[in-house]
């Protein structure tokens, strides 16, 4: 059973567009929600993360929006570039635990 549900599976946008990737969860014990970015041939790398006591976090062109009541969070990429083409994973961690639960990933393609 997938603890974190991610959509869409793939996404194609034009350069300059704003792709949005969504994740949903049920477990209210989650207290940390990171997003990872993975380029072909590489392992995933932490991109940005949020805690549930804030509704938005911005780092450069990447923004996480968090809706605690809906148990949903999303990644927005402003002014997307071809170099943003990668697979993106959302994840969540239970309070006090040492492991993350990952979503199934979204393959983003940004067309020049």
């Amino acid at each position: 059973q997938q603890q974190v549900k991610q959509s869409p599976q793939s996404l194609i946008v034009q350069k300059g567009g704003i792709p949005i990737i969504n994740c949903a969860y049920e477990n209210t014990a989650f207290d940390y929600f990171p997003w990872y970015q993975q380029f072909p041939g590489k392992g995933p790398a932490l991109l940005i993360a949020i805690r549930p006591d804030v509704s938005e976090k911005k780092e450069g062109r990447f923004t996480i929006s968090f809706n605690k009541s809906a148990k949903q969070f999303s990644l927005h990429i402003m002014d997307s570039q071809p170099g943003d083409s990668a697979t993106y994973f959302c994840a969540a961690k239970v309070t006090g635990a040492n492991n993350l639960f990952f979503g199934t990933g979204t393959r983003l393609t940004v067309i020049p």
């Binding site: 991610q6 599976q9 940390y32 990171p34 041939g41 590489k42 392992g43 995933p44 790398a45 932490l46 993360a49 994973f89 961690k93 635990a97 040492n98 492991n99 993350l100 639960f101 990952f102 979503g103 199934t104 990933g105």
Partner: protein, 111 residues
Amino acid sequence: DVKVTQSSRYLVKRTGEKVFLECVQDMDHENMFWYRQDPGLGLRLIYFSYDVKMKEKGDIPEGYSVSREKKERFSLILESASTNQTSMYLCASSPTGREQFFGPGTRLTVL
């Protein structure tokens, strides 16, 4: 920079062989993880370890075992490889379980 290295980038084995995948991290992290990555299924946790000689099962431990004899090294063992274990295997380490640092992965093909 944190470095997580995996022993092989590509590996081809035959059904029934015993397979060892090695992972080494150089940042003295307490936690280490083994995942497999399959299209449409994302990253699924096989096993993790929060200390030397300690291990915890993840979501899909069946058919796998692990060994952590030293803090920097975490090995994944396929006792008798099967074709359904053909996959990308990713190792990660973390000081706290929050930010995880991943290796480049090992693409294992079992024929």
